[in-house]
């Protein structure tokens, strides 16, 4: 493809890191509940142990995969189409012509807002595609571009 592939903004790695520690926290709380159940209701000890392994293991894997996830996630915005690409072991690539886009949703939780990023969801008449994080300006630009195209070519086809 002639247009350049953009990586996600660098700050997204920080967001992913924080969300991994968030899941560590949640999973540790769950483990704590299992431990309480074990002490007070005599639940099997192996349940708590398994839960602890998951609680520690999952965030570690999630964190370890961040550079990988970052490196192989790409997006491309051309005049007529949006392309998204993700994954290395399972590589996915999707093309969405802007003329098919029904609506664009910008969505930012507190973390993304803090970093001036935004999650962007592009919906067609049948499918939904998400870019995890874009610079707020890029996201708004993409939204305006799609709205512009939608105004120009009013396809009442769907």
């Amino acid at each position: 493809m002639p247009q350049t592939q953009h990586p996600l903004p660098n700050r997204i790695k920080l967001i992913w890191g924080i969300s991994a520690s968030g899941s560590l926290l949640v999973l540790l709380v769950v483990t704590g509940l299992f431990w309480l159940a074990q002490t007070y209701w005599d639940w099997a000890a192996w349940l708590t142990v398994t839960m602890l392994v998951i609680a520690v293991g999952e965030p570690i894997i999630e964190t370890a995969l961040i550079p990988y996830r970052y490196r192989f996630t790409r997006y491309m915005i051309a005049d007529t189409a949006v392309e998204m690409q993700a994954g290395f072991i399972f590589k996915k690539r999707v093309a969405i012509p802007i003329a098919r886009v029904q609506n664009v949703t910008l969505n930012a939780g507190p973390l993304l807002q803090w970093q001036k990023l935004s999650k962007i969801t592009v919906s067609t008449a049948s499918t939904t595609h998400t870019i995890d994080g874009l610079e707020l300006t890029t996201a708004e630009q993409l939204r305006d571009q799609i709205m512009q195209l939608a105004r120009e070519a009013r396809h009442d086809q769907n």
């Binding site: 007529t80 399972f90 012509p97 049948s126 499918t127």
Partner: protein
């Protein structure tokens, strides 16, 4: 008809039926508890639910057909006001139960492409046929006027649209169609599921009983159940496809069918998302296939997973010749599907995957019930055949700049899709790290179907094949 109107009082029956369908256990409770005080207390509740509520809900529904939009008002506690401009209408469906026929009344449902789940935007339980005709006329006028000049000119010159194509079922094709349905298989599976739900000790007792009986007896029993299920589907299909008739007038297609409930669906040509030829294993033997239209509404939901059946049974040679008068963009002859394929060594990959999927349940089942071993091995053989079938039937290619043809094989059903470029919502490529080495790719073409997405997936194509479709889509879709 610019005045706001209510539906015919006979529409009450429809609301009543809905109440009975949702609340019938109440009757049983009242009868069972007729002696106790609280059973008597339920009687006023029953009067409210079965008499007053249907009356109010009938009374609350009103509609207005204006030249610019269809208005629909409903709701008792929360009022809904629906305004539907005619350009937004996907399908108009008319259903006539036999008891409404003498009164010249019918049910009219109007659907848009909105993602609203489950039900049509407008549903009028009992109205005169003029209502649907009027909606149709306004829609035609709106569609013809602003968009492109060619259709506008043609509809103006032809005041009454002439019938351009008709398809009816001949006795022979009708029987071919109903006799080759695989609709009985789900019924069989349900029967099997009921067997699985039986109490454990009963199965064990049955199992020891069965051991005394000859295998032949078992097979005959199974076949008898299959036969009953099959006869049931045949009768159902005969009723549902009674007096099947598809006609094309101007830029719309109308399909009518049904005995007790006459079901008429009207769909504008430009709303067709894709055409699908579907051929189950029995129909492959007879070399006939079913032609369906994929729509962006749920009007045809009762048919067959939202597909509107256009030509129930056509021979392979005739398929395209018969389709063409209805759908202008369809090719006149069977297009070449050899550009996309899974051949030679790549066939093994689909076989392997089918076997892997079957292997785990089979292993567990064999471990739990070792005596049924032979039966489970049969599943593996079926899986092997399915993999091979999928590989042999994968096909497709670019027909022209605006049309794609794709063929898949799932569950011994061969499906050929004709997808216009303008209706493809997105295209996805997938490649695992192992497939990178062997230059293979999965291709998924997404089309709107009913209220959801239809992903047409062709697996284990060569990377060049898959990318050729992807690039065709990316460069042409504007």
């Amino acid at each position: 008809m610019t005045k706001t109107k209510r539906t015919h009082p006979l529409g009450l029956l429809d609301h009543l039926a809905k109440s009975v369908k949702n609340w019938w256990p109440l009757f049983l409770i009242i009868i069972a508890q007729s002696q106790s005080w609280w059973g008597k207390l339920l009687i006023p509740a029953a009067i409210l639910i079965f008499i007053i509520w249907p009356l109010i809900s009938w009374w609350s529904i009103s509609y207005r057909v204006t030249p610019t939009a269809l208005e629909f008002h409903s709701g008792i506690l929360v009022r809904h006001h629906e305004h539907i401009p005619y350009v937004r209408i996907q399908t108009v469906q008319r259903k006539q139960w036999f008891y409404l026929a003498p009164f010249h009344l019918e049910e009219v449902s109007v659907e848009t492409a909105s993602h609203e789940q489950g039900k049509p935007e407008v549903r009028l339980a009992a109205v005169k046929p003029e209502v649907a005709a009027l909606i149709e006329r306004y829609r035609q006028a709106v569609n013809a006027a602003p968009t492109d000049s060619t259709t506008a000119a043609s509809t103006e010159s032809v005041a009454i649209p002439t019938i351009q194509a008709t398809y009816t079922l001949s006795t022979r094709t009708k029987w071919q169609f109903v006799l080759t349905s695989t609709g009985f298989i789900p019924i069989l599976l349900v029967a099997l599921g009921v067997y699985g739900k039986l109490p454990h000790n009963l199965i064990e007792r049955l199992g020891s009983d069965l051991a005394h009986l000859s295998g032949l007896f078992l097979i005959i029993g199974g076949l008898a159940i299959a036969l009953i299920a099959w006869l049931f589907t045949v009768v159902m299909l005969l009723i549902r496809y009674f007096h099947f008739r598809a006609i094309r007038t101007g830029d719309k297609i109308q399909v009518a069918k049904g005995l007790f409930q006459r079901n008429t669906i009207t769909v504008p040509l430009q709303r067709i998302q894709a055409v699908r030829f579907k051929q189950n294993i029995f129909r492959q033997w007879l070399a006939i296939q079913t032609t369906q239209l994929l729509l962006a509404s749920r009007a045809a939901a009762e048919d067959n997973n939202d597909d509107l059946v256009l030509l129930p049974a056509v021979t392979l040679q005739q398929s395209y010749a018969d389709l063409r008068p209805f759908v202008d963009w369809a090719p006149t002859t069977s297009p070449d599907v050899s550009a996309l394929n899974v051949t030679n060594g790549r066939r093994w990959l689909l076989v392997r995957n089918a076997l892997l999927i079957a292997l785990v349940p089979v292993a567990i089942a064999t471990w739990l019930w070792p005596t049924w071993n032979a039966l489970f091995d049969l599943v593996l053989i079926i899986a092997f055949g399915q993999g091979l079938f999928a590989a042999n039937n994968t096909g497709g290619g670019i027909v022209n700049r605006h049309l794609l043809v794709l063929r898949t094989g799932h569950w011994w059903t061969r499906e050929t899709y004709l997808v216009p470029l303008a209706k493809i919502q997105s295209v996805r490529l997938r490649q695992s790290i192992w497939m990178k080495r062997t230059h293979l790719m999965h291709l998924t073409v997404n089309v709107r179907h009913g209220n959801r997405n239809q992903a047409i997936a062709l697996r284990y194509l060569t990377a060049e094949q898959a990318e050729s479709i992807y690039n065709w889509y990316l460069t042409n879709a504007i």
